[in-house]
């Protein structure tokens, strides 16, 4: 009985990878290209390499957050704690490196692990305690915000005296090519995430839980355990984003981060991941995050007032969700 369900489930998943999901990605990618062409014509300064580098750099933090939360959203959940969670990991990185004087590498790993801890606790509340994801992660969002203030004593932690910390994000490890590491880290995280989601058992179960949690459970998969793992993975992404942000600002700012979760979720939605779960892709999320930063950068470079930039991005999100609904009706 249980193997039957597992078997009938697989072909359905394949369809999501190759069928309508791909269409959404192509649509998102086409929009990105159209935007780039539009802004290149509208402003002479848009297509300069240094501006493109700026766009990529400003995508990194929100982008990495969005990648992690894509996993959670595909399971049909949501993670509101990623914004302030990122702040908490940047503060923890500061504690490890500046207060405790640990070596950079240990501090970075510590920062990422603190992110994993936050994800783990969210996952625990969602899967074991059965608290709805919206509430559980909302609570975690507040816990992380408060803890950041408590741990840092409500004042920023500066890395100015730590040799080399700033270059984690802004340095360049490839000799001869001056692409900031943060951008490389972002694409590396896309790669890791993509492998996890489409090539491993974690990814298969992520889609399975999002498509039909009950059927997944009945086919003998320990849904609780896998949800816990998925939220923890998302937490690792939060940790990486926190380290990158701290490095770029050369400081851990305890009052930052609130609201970043919504930008990240917007990027996920624009990238074609369905908020009702079961469908989505990391390449889509990457494109979604790029669309958001190309839009803000392009509108800014054209000197469109900021208020209108926000309105435009709001409309883009509406459109993205509308296309997602059309797609569902057709299938």
């Amino acid at each position: 009985m249980s193997t039957d369900i597992a078997n009938t489930h697989k072909p359905a998943q394949k369809k999501y990878f190759k069928g309508s999901g791909a269409l959404q990605q192509i649509l998102a990618f086409a929009s990105l290209i159209i935007l780039v062409i539009f802004f290149s014509i509208a402003s002479d300064n848009f297509l300069h390499w240094s501006n493109i580098e700026g766009i990529l750099l400003s995508t990194t933090v929100i982008g990495i957050l969005a990648l992690g939360t894509t996993f959670v959203i595909i399971t049909g959940g949501i993670d509101l704690s990623i914004g302030t969670g990122m702040t908490l990991t940047s503060v923890m990185t500061g504690v490890f490196i500046v207060y405790l004087g640990l070596p950079l590498s240990v501090g970075i790993i510590g920062g990422i692990l603190s992110g994993a801890c936050i994800g783990f606790i969210s996952g625990f509340s969602v899967s074991i305690l059965r608290i709805p994801p919206f509430i559980a992660t909302l609570a975690m969002m507040m816990i992380a915000e408060g803890l950041s203030l408590v741990i840092s004593g409500a004042s920023p932690i500066y890395f100015s005296d730590v040799e080399g910390f700033n270059s984690i994000a802004l340095g360049s490890i490839i000799p001869g090519i001056s692409i900031p590491n943060a951008i490389l880290v972002f694409f590396f995280m896309v790669l890791i995430g993509w492998v996890l989601l489409s090539k491993t058992i974690v990814g298969r179960y992520t889609f399975a839980i999002g498509s039909n949690e009950e059927a997944t459970r009945l086919s003998g998969i320990n849904v609780k355990k896998w949800k816990l793992i998925i939220y923890t993975i998302a937490g690792c992404f939060t940790g990486v984003a926190g380290v990158i942000m701290a490095s770029r600002l050369n400081s851990a700012q305890p009052a930052l981060g609130m609201g970043y979760e919504l930008e990240a979720i917007a990027a996920v939605v624009i990238g074609g991941t369905s908020l009702s779960g079961g469908k989505g892709s990391l390449i889509g999320t990457m494109i979604g995050a790029l669309i958001m930063s190309v839009l803000t950068n392009g509108l800014r470079i054209m000197s469109i007032p900021q208020e209108w930039q926000t309105v435009v991005i709001g409309f883009v999100i509406l459109l993205a969700v509308y296309f997602d609904m059309l797609r569902k009706k057709n299938t």
Binding site: N45, G54, Y158, A255, N297
Partner: protein, 345 residues
């Protein structure tokens, strides 16, 4: 099985909390000046003693706009200094961030119930606070406004920086540094608050009136968020490759501009002027990335607030406005005593 997992997770969670608590204590200890015997019991005893001692002193409740910014911590220091000098008891509190108008209202309401002898109040929204201010007035509790004024007749005085005049000085400095001609841009923290608007208008209007050859090409709002301000200052420089200067209207905005200039290696080309203080701005000025900045005198604001409250309790005459002053600081005067008291790390 289930129980064992639960137990294991509980242990992990509580040990995590323990570690976090330990870190928090360490941070506290570091910032504690006396720092010798900081055990919990002795601190509690100390607090209890203070309470006994303080019961006869006049009590002034101070509600600020926040507490996590170093600016507010400096205001608190000034207030505490005055409290010691005038032998009064104060409490200092504020909401977590400067958009939490409702939370501030709750704090004000709670304070009213404690029957203080005077209240120091920095309104996040003067309209929203007016009913509570009236209630205080009826109870005969004098109110001293600080930082930004309250749009009401009830506060006896306002201790604040003249933000418009301060921004106007920033404009004069910018004009002088770029040779009174060229393109400039502004990164402002927000368009709705009084400080945001005054620090923008003081700068923009001075430029327009006095320096016809300077063109303001862009004004953007970054919410005082370091990362957001960095990204938008970068875009400004991309859109206007010949930009001569950028002015950042508060700590987060100014640091954002500094980050952007550093990331694009335009230190030689773009003149950066900031507002407020903080370690990163002071470092940027020492490094020459930032030409200079305006600082308010936050300790002065706190000090003058308590001083005015004491005068009010004693029934003395107080002026309608107390200008707490501002300073221009750069590499040349960073070490001056007067600047050192006004800048905060």
């Amino acid at each position: 099985m289930k129980k064992r997992i639960m137990l294991a997770i509980l242990i992990v969670f509580s040990s995590l909390l323990f570690v976090l608590a330990a870190c928090g204590n360490e941070a506290e200890k570091e910032s504690d000046d006396t720092g010798s015997t900081g055990t919990e019991t002795s601190e509690n005893e100390k607090a209890a003693e203070e309470n006994n001692e303080d019961s006869d002193k006049p009590y002034i409740a101070i509600i600020s706009k926040g507490f996590q910014h170093q600016f507010w911590q400096a205001v608190q220091r000034g207030a505490e200094k005055a409290a010691e000098e005038f032998n009064v008891k104060i409490t200092f509190e504020g909401p977590e961030n400067e958009s939490q108008v409702d939370k501030q209202m709750e704090m004000l309401r709670a304070v009213l119930d404690k029957q203080p002898d005077a209240i120091g109040f920095a309104a996040l929204d003067s309209q929203a606070s007016s009913p509570l201010l009236e209630e205080a007035d009826e109870k005969g509790i004098p109110i001293i406004a600080f930082d930004s004024g309250v749009d009401s007749d009830i506060p006896l005085t306002t201790a604040s920086t003249d933000n418009y005049a301060a921004a106007s000085l920033a404009a004069d400095k910018m004009a002088e540094l770029i040779g009174e001609k060229g393109k400039i841009a502004l990164v402002v923290h927000d368009q709705v608050s009084v400080t945001g608007a005054q620090r923008r208008d003081g700068f923009v209007e001075t430029m327009e009136e006095k320096y016809p050859d300077i063109e303001i090409v862009d004004i953007q709002y970054g919410g005082g968020d370091h990362l957001e301000s960095t990204n938008l200052a970068k875009t400004m420089m991309q859109a206007n490759p010949d930009l001569a200067g950028i002015y950042g209207s508060n700590e987060g905005s100014a640091i954002g501009v500094v980050n952007a200039v550093r990331e694009l290696s335009k230190e030689e080309q773009v003149t950066v002027i900031g507002f407020d203080s903080g370690k990163q701005q002071i470092d940027a000025i020492s490094d020459g990335v930032m030409a200079g900045a305006i600082t308010q005198n936050p300790e002065g604001i706190g000090y003058e607030t308590v001083k005015a409250a004491v005068s009010a309790i004693n029934g003395e005459e107080i002026p309608e406005n107390i200008d707490t002053g501002f300073y221009w600081y750069d590499q040349t005067n960073l070490e001056d005593e007067e600047i050192q008291a006004a800048v905060y790390e």
